[in-house]
Every structure is written in structure tokens, then in C-alpha cells.
């Protein structure tokens, strides 16, 4: 190129020229076809380079952050500042592990003993145990255990709960984990869930959870109505949480690792939303939202619910 302005065109498109000089170059461009073409080519190159997409997957990004920030030092889920030291955390972990092992042993001993099964059969309970494993139960016991009105009910009052669960609490040999929280949505789910039913329920659950998380993501902060808006999400999360647990167990027992792990990562988020106070702190809402974003859970829910729906079709 013979024109003296060529280098200045590079500066012009980068905004590195003084205003007066920029005007001068712009005037020159009106008369010089060669320089105008040069500018167009430089801008074309820019668009080629900026449109380059990285091959980064969200999971890789999350994994990288986890590697850099040790788990115990990461931002707490609900913005609370826990004052526990490492020892306390280790102790709590031991307790949890112990409880889980105890639970597994208890369940396995229970399922092996025929006597306990018989007791369970002989003692019909109005509130279902939502037990998926208890497959030996005769079919006639099922109708008594699934009171239809409970399906889809929102949080009932504590008095009602007590009445409904009076009998099952006295029932001996009922594994504590299988005991449903009374009056919750999943209380009406039949004990023996067939795999197709479970898949349908999981797909529906994913859809509902996705809707909830989207709604939660759109909650407006910095506005006086914040508390009122979150109350819906809280209620919804409370409804979904037990179904989440139940479906998680079902997926675990069916060996569906992918669904189980998704449900597992959804659980703490539902818990956090359900446990938000009546007038939540802005930070608490924001921290949960960031966590949802980081885990990319909305997209995962969408993908999985679609996949499940397709499989069912």
C-alpha cells in the first residue's frame, strides 16, 4: 500500500487516535478507496477473531474453580458465616458417615427379616411409607396407604399432620428414613413405583424444579416486595424437596447414577430455598442464585427432563 494513512487506520479502528486526528483520517477515507478497503478488511479480521468460540464446557469451569478454592473455604451456600474449625467439620463428617452406615445396616437387616415385613403388612397405615424397596407387600394394602386428597396439596397445618400420622408413628419396625414427612406432596405416591412411573415422575419433577429455579432466578431484588415474591418459591421448594429425596432413592436403587446425582445436587438448592426466612436477605437469595448458575442446574434439568420424556415416548 502506498498511502501514508495505512497505519493510522489500524489506530482509528482501535480508538487510539486523538479526536482531531481521527476526524482527519475519516475525511481521508471518504476520498481514498484503498484505505476504505483496508478498514473494511481490518474490521472483517476483527469479526473473525472475536467470533472464535472457546471449547470450554461449564462442567470444566466448575471443576477448575473447585480445584482452586478448597471446598471448606468456598462461599457458604446461604451467606452464613460459620465459625466451625476443621475439627468440628471432621467430627460432623464422621457423624454423618456413621449415621449413613448405621442406616444402611439397619435397612439391610430389616429387609432380610421376614418377621418385620409381616408386621408392616399387618399394620396398615393411612399415611404411606413411600417405600420403594418394600416390594413384598401385598397389593391390597396399597389403596389404604394412598389417600388421594393428599396429592398435590400444599403445606398443611401442623394439627392436620399430627392426625394423619398418628398411626404410622406407633407402627413398629418402620425404618426411620422411609417415614415420610406428613402431608407432603409425595405422601400419596404408591409404595411400589414401577420404573416407567418413576421416569414419568422424575421428568415431571425435573420440569417443576426447572420452573421453580427459573422463577427464583427472576426474583427481583432491591424492591420492597421481595419477601412476598420469594414466598411462592419457598412454598414450591418445600413441596418438591421430599419428592426429590424419594426419587433420588428410587434412582439410586435402580442404579441410575446420572439421575441420582442430578437429584442429589438439586436437593441442597431446594433445601436452601425452602429454608429461606419469610423476609430473606438479598445476599442469601443472591448466593443461592449464584450456586444455581455455577452448577448449571437449570440446563441439566431441562436436558434430562427432555431426555426422559423422549425415552417415555
Amino acid at each position: 500500500m502506498s498511502c501514508n494513512f495505512t497505519e493510522k487506520i489500524s489506530l482509528l479502528i482501535d480508538g487510539e487516535l486523538a479526536p482531531q486526528e481521527a476526524r482527519e483520517v475519516e475525511r481521508h477515507l471518504l476520498n481514498c478507496v484503498e484505505c476504505e478497503q483496508l478498514r473494511a478488511d481490518f474490521l472483517n479480521l476483527r469479526s473473525q477473531i472475536t467470533s472464535f468460540e472457546t471449547s470450554l464446557q461449564p462442567a470444566v469451569e466448575n471443576h477448575a474453580l473447585k480445584k482452586i478454592l478448597p471446598a471448606e473455604r468456598r462461599v457458604p451456600a446461604r451467606g452464613l458465616q460459620w465459625g466451625f474449625g476443621t475439627q468440628a467439620i471432621a467430627f460432623a463428617t464422621l457423624l454423618i458417615v456413621g449415621a449413613i452406615i448405621g442406616l444402611i445396616l439397619y435397612q439391610s437387616s430389616n429387609s432380610r427379616g421376614p418377621a418385620s415385613t409381616q408386621v408392616a403388612v399387618q399394620t396398615p397405615s393411612p399415611a404411606p411409607a413411600a417405600s420403594i424397596e418394600n416390594t413384598e407387600k401385598p397389593k391390597q394394602a396399597a389403596p389404604q396407604e394412598s389417600p388421594a386428597p393428599n396429592r398435590g396439596t400444599e403445606q398443611p397445618t401442623p394439627n392436620k399432620e399430627d392426625k394423619k400420622t398418628d398411626n404410622p408413628r406407633r407402627t413398629p419396625k418402620r425404618p426411620p428414613v422411609r417415614e415420610p414427612k406428613p402431608g407432603e406432596q409425595f405422601a400419596s405416591i404408591p409404595e411400589r413405583v414401577r420404573s416407567a412411573d418413576a421416569q414419568t415422575m422424575t421428568a415431571m419433577h425435573f420440569e417443576r424444579s426447572e420452573t421453580l429455579l427459573r422463577a427464583f432466578r427472576n426474583v427481583r431484588l432491591n424492591e420492597p416486595g421481595t419477601a412476598a415474591e420469594v414466598s411462592y418459591e419457598r412454598k414450591r421448594a418445600q413441596q418438591l424437596i421430599y419428592q426429590n429425596m424419594m426419587l433420588g432413592r428410587e434412582a439410586d436403587s435402580a442404579g441410575d447414577v446420572q439421575i441420582a446425582s442430578l437429584l442429589e445436587s438439586l436437593e441442597p438448592i431446594l433445601l436452601d430455598i425452602a429454608n429461606l426466612p419469610a423476609k430473606p436477605d438479598e445476599d442469601a437469595v443472591r448466593v443461592i442464585r449464584e450456586r444455581v448458575e455455577r452448577k448449571n442446574i437449570v440446563a441439566l434439568l431441562q436436558v434430562n427432563s427432555t431426555a426422559l420424556a423422549r425415552a417415555l415416548d
Partner: protein, 177 residues
Amino acid sequence: MASEDEEFTMLFQDFYPSLCRFLECLLGGRAPLAQDLAQESFLQLHRTAWGTLPVGEARFWLYRVARNMAINEFRRSHTRYRLFDRVVEAMRPRARNPEQEYETQERKRLVLEMLQTLPEDQRTALLLREQEQLSYREIGQVLNISESKVKVDIFRARATLRNRWSKRVRTIGASAS
């Protein structure tokens, strides 16, 4: 401590993807390696400089360290393209439809191929300008060179790419006809 980590998380979320992209272009593809180096840069930032750097400096620090790592990598494995990288790249899930995916990959390949023809300093300066939109002064800060060198490097990079690009287009046109 929590707020520091929170700030770090925000910085990470803001710049990790763009640092990966910068490194990927600098290294001529090799996405897994670029991601490793980006992670390593953040790790170094967290371990050594986080909390001592003035606000706003962390980004420049990151790009400087990442670029040095990439140069080390050039020296270490100039001609070697790790088999592992290729395998990971081949196994990467692709969500788009095949046609769209092919087009994107072709465009990416072309951009990378063009960028690889530039000397490393010109390539870095151009990437920092075009992708990261840093000013000449900021680029000088990252690369520890003067503004006038940045100016010259970017112009030369653009002029070279323009020539190659037009040759390339002519070649494609000739082969098509």
C-alpha cells in the same frame, strides 16, 4: 475470608472463559491444555498475588502469567501435540447439528491457522486487542513493552493477516471454479 473468596469466584467466572479462549488462540487450538494453563494461572493468582494486587490489576496479571506459561509450553513441546489433547478434543460432546458444527469448526480452524502464522508477540498483542479489548497502554502493561511497540505489532499483525486472508480467499475461489 468468605468475601475474598467470593470476589475471587466472581473474578474467576468473569475471566476464566476468556482466558481459555485467549490461550486456545495463542496455542493454536489445544483446548484442554489451554484450560489447564488458565486454571494454573488462577491458582497462582490465588496462592501468591491475591489480596496484594490493586483492584483492576488482577486481570492484567492473569494474562501476563498465562502468556508466560504458554511461551514455556511452546518451548517445551514445540512440535509435540499431545495425544491426550487430541483424544479429549475428539471425545468432546458436540451439541449442535453436524452441519453447523462443521462450519464452526472450519471457521475456528481457519482463524487458528492464520493466527499461527504470526510471530508470538504480534499474535498476543492482536488477541489482547481484538478479543479482550484492552487498550494499547494496557497491552503494554501486560506484555511489559512500550505503547509504540504495541502499535507497530498490532498493525503488522493485521497487515500480515490481511494479505494471507486475501490469498486464502483467492485460492478457495480458484479451487471452487
